[in-house]
Amino acid sequence: MNPQNSSRIALVLKLVVLAGLIAFPAFGSSFYTEMVAKILILGIFAMSLDLLVGFTGLVSLGHAAYFGIAAYTVALLTPKYDPADLWLALPASVLAAAAAAFVIGLFVLRTKGIYFIMVTLAFAQMVYFIFHDTALGGGSDGIYVNFKPDASIAGWVPFDLNEPIQLYYFVVVALVAVFVFLTLVLRSPFGRVLVGIRSNEHRMQSLGYATFHYKLAAFTLAGGLAGVAGFLYAVLFGFVTPEYLSWHQSGNVLMMVILGGMGNLAGAVIGAFAFIGLQEMFSDWTKHWQLLMGGVIVAAVLFMPGGLSALPRRIMKKVNGERENG
């Protein structure tokens, strides 16, 4: 299979999946529509992390912090008895997440490797404590988003997020938008530098790139996109708790990226589906489902480098290899 063909097949596959997503609410009940919406939101979250892990080579173990900050921002911006303005709340949430990522990035990007992993985790934990311990965001029990944001522009209502179906399509649009946005960014001069940093940061420096600034920009961007996911999540469920920021969430989203195969935007979304699917399946089999989940993670690391999205290629390779040998 030549590369051009395979990229065409990939594009067709993506369009088929998109068509499936668009058609889904016609078949699924409101519960499944909401569940798929949740997975798509996690897909956005995973893509934002993939920008760091898969493309820039920055293994962040604190990405849930930015997701959570955006979720809290929309909760706090929503008045008690009225909806917030969508066109205000969405940018504000994303900006809040990006701003936090920028400030934290100034600290954590001074470190590398194992340090970076630990320090991102520690800073996320710090943000967790801010929401858990102080009255800022309703404390440990969490806070409601009492009303879904209002999308009206000067009296005109383009769509209504209180309608589950419309909210679902809003999520689908957001997913596509983030996917296209990241695809464009990654082929831009900026994106090429990020991939270069992942491959060989030292060489990028000696070529004259101020890699710190690029990494900071990527970190901020990823934080902002995680904020898009956090915003949608809070709007979908109407409830925000400090646990959205816990390090287990950071671990889970990292797992989604890996399951799908890092450095692959579509893979991140596949990873979100696979992760939630496994969770549902295992928790059906046994209440000790985390044992199975842990086993899958360990097995994936040991036996499946490249993740799910690399599977077809690996299988093809194996098949072709055997044919050549035979």
């Binding site: 001069p189 900026f190 491959s199 000696s206």
Partner: protein, 269 residues
């Protein structure tokens, strides 16, 4: 850190561009200590436009330390580095690259997963990075791509643009290393053993390449291969135990008794 903007420094480097043979880069009494040990002690070097300056010495003489200080990979303990008369001692490696100092590495230091073109394109892009153009296809920025292609041709890799760098032969990877430096439009080249691990045929090609590069550029060449050094160098500096033993034109070095005993006598001939 003393901050100079890239624009200022480009002017600095450009100011001396017109005069061939003029000192472009000067190392003034560079000293670097690791713990109590001096890896370099009061090393002085001058790199001139149109000239190739070779740095010789046995293993552990401090050649790598020296080139690392010049490129900004290692801060000196004492001494100054000048470019076009301006003190650049405190600039980072990235800042030095942006004012026209390019270096290659002893151990091949490329982007192995990228194509030859992308390796050089990234290098060329650093001259005009435009990071805010996040919706523009990098491959559509013709100034960058053209510069990369020109560097590939100049380094003798014409026709290899599409190869994945990591899959090429060792010699080709060394050429790519040079091509990347060229793509940055560097006026001062710091080349760390470009011939390391090459066969004789590949070496000969590289020597020809180096001869061609001298024009309009100042080159520092750290190299083990004696024949190659004497074939291309205009000036040779010999280091032993972190200090400069002798510096001068090739004939002077060839005939120096000190060099004979301290270096050539060790069976490296």
């Amino acid at each position: 850190m003393a901050e100079m903007t890239t624009a200022d420094l480009t002017v600095v480097a450009g100011a001396s561009a017109a005069v061939p043979g003029e000192a472009m880069m000067v190392a003034d009494k560079l000293t670097r200590r690791f713990g109590g040990l001096a890896a370099n002690q009061d090393v002085c070097l001058t790199l001139e436009r149109g000239k190739l300056h070779a740095l010789l010495g046995p293993n552990g003489a401090g050649k790598s330390t020296c080139i690392n200080m010049l490129s900004g990979d290692l801060p000196p303990s004492e001494g100054r580095i000048l470019l076009g008369g301006k003190d650049i001692t405190r600039l980072s490696a990235a800042q030095r690259s942006r004012i026209g100092i390019g270096r290659s590495y002893q151990r091949t230091n490329i982007f192995p997963g990228f194509t030859v073109l992308e390796n050089c394109r990234l290098a060329a892009q650093s001259r005009n990075p435009r990071p805010w153009k996040i919706f523009t296809d990098a491959l559509g920025l013709s100034d960058t791509v053209d510069r990369a292609r020109a560097a590939i041709v100049e380094a003798g890799l014409a026709g290899r643009e599409g190869r994945i760098a990591g899959t090429m032969s060792h010699g080709e990877q060394r050429q790519l290393e040079i091509a990347m430096v060229l793509a940055t439009d560097a006026r001062v080249l710091l080349l760390d053993e470009p011939l390391a691990g090459m066969g004789s045929e590949e070496s000969a090609q590289m020597v020809e390449l180096l001869k061609g590069l001298k024009k309009n550029r100042a080159i520092l060449l750290v190299e083990h291969d004696m024949d190659a050094v004497f074939a291309v160098a205009d000036t040779i500096t010999v280091m032993v135990n972190g200090v400069v033993l002798e510096s001068g034109p090739p004939e002077q070095i060839r005939n120096s008794a000190d060099v004979q005993t301290a270096y050539l006598g060790e069976g490296h001939v």
